[in-house]
């Protein structure tokens, strides 16, 4: 793996382009070559810097400095002074007052990684997750203490509402609103459920939080319990996450010992208990009602909604179900206030997002960045470019149920609104980045096989639809496709989206739709020409039993 | 239902089944294998437990299916129902859980009851019944504190020499708790056969005319003499359990039997066979040749329920239509026609004085609707019943006092038939025949899900026979081991009266020391073994307890 010593990002939003940023980029390429720095310095672009006066800007790492406005003729000086000699060119820096929040994070340097905005991951990699003292030392349980001693439950909910926090499980529902629904729903008991059944392929942000900072999630659950008048909480951790379970159990135990769980927490009259419930290998249990069914000792078949868990949840009582990442936002919001929180991200999607980066890129793993970052930025800044210099072909966002984002849409900001507008979804924050050696039909086949395997089987469109879609796509990869199949596929996908009981069946259609929307030529090549352009599909019938995943269990 | 009649003035299930399953908060099932004998009601009880969380206490020596749904299973020794019930009442009184207001306003005889109940402290009761004190206390608490509570029983309570006393004691319990005349409560004897209730209502009993009008009362005698135009007998007749043995003494010379099989259904079969054998004349009206038909002189072919129209009255006093679906098979005739024709012929012989002008002297019925009109005219509790109302879809539980009366789903609301409910103190009497050295085990008898009564119909249903094709004798694994059954499944069960050979079903349904047999199969009918000890009042035999010896048959 190539490790670059520095990284240069040239802004390429429409305004910057108009002001000649393309030329700046070209000059950088030239100069880096001539200074023989091309091997050590990565060069890329960045969009939507949100600053008209300073654009075009150039960002250079690891110092995380921002120059602007930059003219093509400045490039030589930046290369020779900054990149060659290592001096920051002070007079070319963007003045502080011209740095809006959208840019500010580019300069921040928290943690060991470049330019992350770490709110949720602040302690990750810094503390020993099995040591409650480490957690307490790093502001742990301060938010809980504040809530219990200085705030009413209503005030807690108000603060969360004001922060604009939206659910990070994928749907983006306003968290404060959900909390107030549950708090006001009639019922004998109320429950907090932390959804840690993180099963979207490629998503492991929750695992990182649970393994690296379990007390943060526990603290958030306790605060949520206080806010909605619950006395019991469940955390549903998927069975495959053994280490997460182990560490969370330890956290529960320590919290009892220290008095953050149990009766009269921190001297208040609030009691709270948390139970850990292990999943047992079913993707669909990530769906909140399936998860509730699973806790109740049933098959994880999603319920029909309405009614929603906010009124009819666990054991039929009002239940708050929040994703791990959503909850992780709660303590910092309470501790620092909603105003502080809204400084991050975009006005419509405040805060940060934890992304998992995977696929054919140089660096894979988890990062936290403000909402609104673009795919291109992720690939080039964090993932350190495509592996082996291959070209970026597409990214799948949000696990199996996410969209396929073609290269042409890589500048779409990743927040709750923009992808929706562009017809793609942010989902769980997984970014599977594929290079041009990836066959989209093969990829979609794998995804459909996954859905067919993970469908609970309750509703017709999902149970049979995923199988029929899989069969059709498989036939295409085996040279047995027909052009007319594509219309049938699209029609079936549309109906699955319309008719399925839960998100699984609805989103199983998304990759098919995206494939036919963005990569139809490639699909048709399989059918018309009988070849797979990437050479991945063998175009002959494959051994059925080897590929089918009948009765598979871990 | 003499027991209930004593307590309340009339004896029948007080509350409809649906009312019990919808409104009871607790239930006591005692002496009823409900899911096998009244399967549809049994499943409704299961659902009441599943869906409404009803607290169910089952008292039964056997671990019958319904115990799976029981909050508490009291496995008392056979024949100890009275001490069990008295013991529960003792605990209830000791805790002050009784319904004082109900007792004061609607009952009499409480002090006498109390005196006897005090004789049954939990420790003593535990000793007699074999139910631990702790379980007795739990049961009493569940039954007393979840109101309304409904009591259900069947033959497990009545087929004892103390059957009537058992019933009266259950009535005591329910009066003590004030669970009568209320929705979801009541005393609810589950009637075994499809139309037992109706047959009783219709006066097919030796002591009453239709509607339980006593045959020895002046008003009733006058009423029926006027209606039928003939002189009525003024004394009680014999019950079936008396009639057949009285053949031997010569008191009974001839029998007219409609659709019954006493050889299979009556106790001590070999004695029954002997009596029938010597009977002068037996007229049997049946649909199949039966064990009894071997002793008949004339056999008239009647029809099945599918071939006739009329009414049945179910266990909850609901009168419902039976409708003819197919013509009578062959030359078979509808039973009501046969009876009428026979009656007309006998009357034609003229030795009995009948005033042909009496309103209901005639036997020339058009159809059963006309018969029902006659019933209505003579039976106060059926006064408002007619086929027309039933065909119009009306749901009628008797008493239906007139043509506009809507029927009476729940009995004893506000007042008992006899005015005040009567507490009757009941003392324990041990069963007639208990195991001894010669016959060391106890035999309990009853039915199984797949068969019915003497088995005349169900043994002729192919599928039922495939599932349950031969008599099985339930025996506890401990006993099976002691007897050296070792996989060899055939056993011989003998009593002082006879013996049968059958396949053993080794199961924990029965406690050690008990075997359970059914009477569905002639080749191994439990009634070859049972004792003809009768309840002194109801004349019901003690089917549920007799002493037997069990041996493995080496083959």
């Amino acid at each position: 793996m190539k490790i670059t010593r520095s990284m240069v990002l040239v802004s390429s939003d429409p305004l910057s382009l108009q002001r000649g940023s393309l030329e700046i980029y070209r000059r950088f390429q030239e100069k880096l070559e001539s200074y023989q720095l091309a091997e050590e310095v990565a060069l890329s672009t960045i969009t939507d810097v949100g600053n008209t006066e300073a654009s075009p800007v150039v960002v250079i790492y690891p110092e995380a400095v921002i120059y602007g406005p930059v003219q093509p003729e400045n490039v030589d000086r930046l290369v020779s002074e900054h990149l060659y000699k290592g001096h920051i060119v002070e007079e070319m820096l963007v003045p502080k007052r011209h740095l809006p929040s959208r840019m500010a994070w580019l300069q921040s340097r928290k943690g060991s990684l470049p330019a992350q905005q770490r709110i949720l991951l602040a302690r990750v990699g810094k503390i020993d997750p099995e040591n409650i003292e480490d957690y307490i030392l790093h502001d742990g349980y301060q938010a809980l203490a504040k809530a219990l001693s200085k705030m009413t439950p209503q005030q807690v909910i108000e603060e969360i509402s004001k922060s604009g926090l939206q659910g990070r499980g994928g749907a983006g529902f306003p968290t404060g609103r959900k909390w107030s629904f549950v708090a006001s729903a009639p019922g004998n008991k109320r429950y907090v459920i932390c959804n840690a059944d993180e099963s979207e392929p490629g998503t492991f942000k929750d695992r990182v939080l649970l393994e690296s900072d379990p007390h943060a999630i526990l603290e958030a659950m306790i605060i949520a319990g206080y806010a909605i008048h619950a006395q019991e909480g469940y955390i549903y951790i998927r069975g495959e996450y053994e280490l997460s379970q182990k560490r969370f159990l330890k956290a529960i135990e320590q919290a009892h010992e220290y008095g953050f769980l149990g009766k009269n927490i921190l001297g208040s009259n609030f009691d709270f208990e948390v139970h850990l419930h292990s999943g047992a290998g079913a993707y669909v249990c990530g769906e909140e009602t399936a998860l509730i069914e699973s806790i109740e000792g049933k098959r994880g078949e999603p319920r029909s909604r309405p009614p929603y868990p906010t009124t009819h949840g666990l054991w039929g009582q009002p239940t708050l179900v929040n994703n791990v990442e959503t909850l992780a936002n709660v303590p910092p919001i309470l501790l620092h206030g909603a105003e502080w929180y809204r400084r991050f991200g975009t006005p419509s999607s405040p805060g940060t997002k934890v992304f998992t980066i995977l696929g054919n890129v140089n660096a894979t793993g988890v990062i936290e960045a403000p909402m609104g970052i673009t795919l291109r930025e992720v690939i080039n800044i964090y993932a350190q470019g495509m592996k082996n210099g291959a070209a970026f072909k597409l990214a799948q966002t949000g696990g199996s149920s996410g969209s396929l984002i073609p290269a042409s849409l890589q500048d779409t900001p990743l927040d709750f609104d923009s992808p929706r507008k562009a017809g793609v979804s942010l989902g769980s924050g997984a970014l599977l980045i594929c290079d041009d050696n990836t066959c989209v039909v093969d990829l979609v086949k794998v995804l459909l096989r996954f859905f067919r395997f993970e469908s609970c089987g309750k509703c017709t469109p999902c149970r049979i639809g995923t199988q029929r879609c899989y069969e059709t796509i498989r036939a295409i990869t085996e040279g047995g496709g027909q052009l007319s199949d594509l219309d049938g596929l699209l029609r079936l996908a549309e109906q699955m989206e319309r008719l399925s009981n839960c998100g699984l069946g609805q989103t199983a259609a998304v990759p098919i739709r995206d494939m036919l929307k963005h990569f139809r030529t490639e699909v048709e090549a399989h059918i018309r020409l009988g070849i797979c352009p990437t050479g991945i599909c063998r175009m002959v019938p494959e051994d059925e039993t080897a590929e089918l995943i009948e009765n598979q269990m871990v | 239902m003499a027991g209930l009649a004593t307590a309340f003035g009339s004896g029948a299930m007080t509350n409809p089944m649906e009312d019990v399953v919808q409104h009871a908060r607790a239930m006591l099932i005692i002496g009823s294998n409900t899911t096998e004998q009244h399967p549809v009601f049994g499943t409704k009880i299961r659902q009441a437990v599943l869906k409404r969380g009803v607290k169910l206490v089952v008292a039964d020596p056997r671990r019958i299916d319904i115990t799976e749904y029981a909050t508490l299973h009291l496995r008392h020794k056979p024949g100890t129902d009275i001490p069990l019930i008295n013991g529960l009442m003792n605990i209830i009184l000791a805790n002050g859980w009784q319904d004082d207001e109900f007792i004061a306003n609607r009952t009499e005889g409480f002090d006498e009851l109390k005196a006897v109940i005090e004789e049954y402290p939990p420790e003593k009761v535990a000793e007699i019944t074999g139910v631990p004190v702790e379980k007795l206390r739990q049961a009493a608490e569940i039954l007393a504190l979840n109101k309304p509570m409904a009591v259900m029983w069947a033959m497990g309570i009545t087929q004892h020499i103390v059957g009537v006393r058992n019933v009266m004691d259950l009535a005591n319990l329910q009066m003590l708790l004030g669970n009568l005349g209320v929705s979801g409560g009541g005393v609810n004897p589950l009637r075994g056969q499809n139309n037992v209730q109706g047959a009783c209502d219709m006066g097919a009993l030796p002591d009453v005319y239709p509607g339980y009008q006593k045959v020895n009362t002046e008003t009733a005698i006058q009423k029926f003499e006027a209606a039928w135009g003939a002189k009525m007998s003024e004394h009680f007749g014999m019950t079936v359990t008396e009639m057949i043995p009285e053949i031997e003494s010569g008191k009974i010379k001839a029998l007219y039997i409609l659709g019954e099989d006493p050889v299979m259904s009556d106790p001590n079969s070999s004695h029954i066979r002997h009596c029938l054998e010597i009977c002068d004349f037996i007229l049997l009206q049946e649909i199949f040749p039966s064990e009894t038909s071997r002793y008949a002189d004339v056999l008239l072919p009647g029809v099945s329920f599918a071939e006739k129209t009329g009414t049945f009255t179910n266990t909850e006093r609901r009168i419902q239509m039976v409708r003819q679906a197919i013509p009578p098979l062959g030359e078979a005739r509808q039973d009501w026609r046969i009876i009428s024709e026979l009656a007309q012929r006998i009357l034609a012989f003229g030795s009995r004085q009948v005033n042909a002008n009496a309103p209901f002297a005639q036997w020339n019925y058009r159809d059963t609707a006309q018969i029902m009109d006659e019933i209505a005219a003579l039976t106060p509790s059926y006064a408002g019943v007619s086929h027309a109302r039933l065909e119009a879809g009306e749901q009628l539980h008797w008493p239906v006092k007139d043509a506009n009366h809507p029927g009476t789903p729940i009995l004893h609301v506000g007042q008992f038939t006899r005015g005040k409910g009567k507490f009757t103190p009941i003392e324990h009497i041990p069963p007639q025949e208990m195991p001894d050295d010669d016959y060391p085990m106890l035999l309990n008898t009853g039915r199984v899900l797949y068969h019915w009564h003497g088995g005349e119909m169900t043994r002729r249903a192919t599928g039922l026979m495939q599932v349950y094709g031969q008599a099985l004798v339930e025996i506890n694994p401990d006993d099976a081991e002691r007897l050296g059954l070792n996989g060899n499944k055939r056993v011989r069960v003998s009593s002082r009266r006879g013996s049968i050979e059958a396949e053993a079903w080794v199961t924990e349904r029965v406690p050690p020391g008990m075997v359970f047999a059914n009477f569905h199969f002639p080749e191994a009918s439990a009634n070859e073994l049972t004792i003809a000890a009768l309840d002194p009042v109801s004349k019901i035999p003690e089917y549920k307890i007799c002493a037997v010896r069990v041996e493995a048959i080496r083959g």
Binding site: F204, H275, Q396 | -
Partner: protein, 166 residues
């Protein structure tokens, strides 16, 4: 194979211990099954009976039968209703591993073990199964053998990994 030895395993004690830990309420069913699966390698039918006998409690409104437990066991893929080999090789076949070389690793596993998906070797040593994502995609392709997880697996490493198990 594991099923042959289940006769010797104290199923009742395993169930008892699991109940001790998780209770007998409805929310304990799946955890109890997980414990049995872990201890036995799969869920034998008589374990279902043991669970039913111990868990069923009409007094608390808890009803369960073998059918429901079997249904759960077959729904959740970490539970197995069939006996498994001494060592279970689990391969993540989700898209993230697939695009970074998972295909080739899968081929190598099948060839080295001589098994197809879902099969158990005749000597009862190996079972080969697939799973959905294990959440360790950052080090994909991922192979799990029993409780050990291996990341960044290449086809060449497969024989070496398998050789560690007896």
């Amino acid at each position: 194979m594991k099923d042959q030895s289940t006769k010797d395993l104290p199923i009742a004690a395993i169930v008892e211990a699991a109940i001790e830990k998780h209770g007998t309420n409805y929310d304990a069913f799946i955890p109890i099954l997980l414990e049995v699966n872990k201890a036995v390698g799969y869920i034998p039918l008589h374990a279902l009976k043991e669970i039913r006998l111990r868990v069923r409690a009409p007094e608390d409104g808890i009803f369960v039968n073998e059918g429901r437990l079997y249904s759960l066991s077959s729904f959740y893929h970490m539970l197995s209703t069939k006996p498994r080999g001494r060592h279970v090789v689990i391969f993540c076949e989700s898209a993230p591993c697939h695009v970074v070389g998972g295909r080739q690793v899968w081929q190598a596993l099948k060839e080295n073990l001589g098994l197809k998906a879902g099969e158990t070797s005749e000597d009862g040593k190996w079972s080969l199964v697939t799973t959905s994502c294990l959440g360790t995609c950052g080090v994909g392709p991922v192979v799990v053998v029993d409780d050990e997880i291996y990341g960044n697996v290449t086809p060449e490493q497969v024989p070496e990994i398998l050789a560690r198990y007896e």
